[in-house]
Symmetry: C2
Subunit: 164 residues, 2 copies
Amino acid sequence: MDQAAHPEPEAPAPGSLLLQDQLCFALYAASRAVTACYRPLLDELGLTYPQYLVMLALWEQDGLSVRELGGALQLESSTLSPLLKRLEAAGLVRRERRPDDERSVTVRLTGSGTALRERARAVPPVIGDAMGLTPEQDATAKQLLRLLTTNVATEQPADAGRHG
Amino acid sequence: MDQAAHPEPEAPAPGSLLLQDQLCFALYAASRAVTACYRPLLDELGLTYPQYLVMLALWEQDGLSVRELGGALQLESSTLSPLLKRLEAAGLVRRERRPDDERSVTVRLTGSGTALRERARAVPPVIGDAMGLTPEQDATAKQLLRLLTTNVATEQPADAGRHG
DNA sequence: CGCAACTAAGTTGTGCACGATCTAATCGCG
DNA sequence: CGCGATTAGATCGTGCACAACTTAGTTGCG
C-alpha cells in the first residue's frame, strides 16, 4: 500500500506558493503523464486521447448528440466539432442532422468505429498495469478527483453569495 | 469526511471500457475543471495557467534555465519557448544567454515579475476554498497523483528492443 | 401569423502540448 | 587542431481547449 514510503504527510502552509505544494500542479502533471502513457497505444488505433474518450462514450451509448457528448466529457462544441470532423474523416463516425430537430447533430458509429472497440479492449489493462495503483488507491483517487471536480464546478465565479 | 455520501465504492471491472470507470477520465476532467477555476483569478494577473506555473517556479528560484524549468514542470522546450516569449513580451521575465555556455538561456524575473508575486499570494487560498477538500484529502490526493506520475513516467514504452 | 428569445453547432482566434526537425554551441577523442 | 557526437533552444505542424461570435433552426407569445 505505502509503496511511496511516506509515513509523514508533509504539511504545506495553506497559502504556499511553492510549486510542489500545489495540488493543481500534481494534477496537471499527472494528467499529462497519463495522456503520454496512452499515446503509443492509441497511435496504434489511430486515435488521440480526447478522440479515445469520445469513442468510449459512443461505445457505451451510440447515437449521442454533440450536446450530449459535451455533457458527458465536459467539453465545448468548439472543441468537439473539429474533433468529430476528424473522427468522421477517419471513417469511425458519421454525423447526421436529427430529423425532428435540425439544430441537433447525432453522432453514430460506423462499422469500423464499432469494430475498433475490440482492439481498444487491450488498452485499459496495459494502462492499469503502468499506473501501478492498488485497487484501493485507484478507487480513492477516482473518488477524490470526482469530489474535486464537483466542488470546483459547483463554485460560483468569485461571488461571495454562494446560494448552494 | 464522507461529504460525497458514497458509502458504496462501486468495483469496476479491471478492463472496463466504460467512461466513468476510467481513472484517466476522472483525472482529465478534474485537471480541466481546476484550470477553469484558476482562469478568472489568473486573468486579473494577466497570466494563463501554465504561465502561472512557470512564475511559481521562478518565484521559488529565480534564474533557472529553460532546461531546468522544463525539468521542474515536465514540459518540452517546444512548449516553453513560446510561453517564455509571451512572458517576456508581458515584461515579467528577461531571457539571457549564459556567458559560460551560449547554448543555455537563463530566465530571470524583472521587477514587475517579482512584484507580481505579492498579488499572486491571494490565489491559493481562493483555490483551496473552491476545492473544498479537507487537509487529509488534499494530502492523499497529492500523494496518489505523484505516485501515479512517477509510475507511468518510469514505465518504458513497451518495446523490448530499444537501441537508444 | 410575425418576430423576438432561445438553442445547437460551427467558426475564429489565442495559447498550450508534443513529436520531429533544425541551428548553434560545446565536448570528446585521436 | 579537426570533426563527429552531444546538448540547449527554437521552429514547425497537428491537435486539443475555450471564449467570443456566427449561423441556422425552434419556440413562445401577442
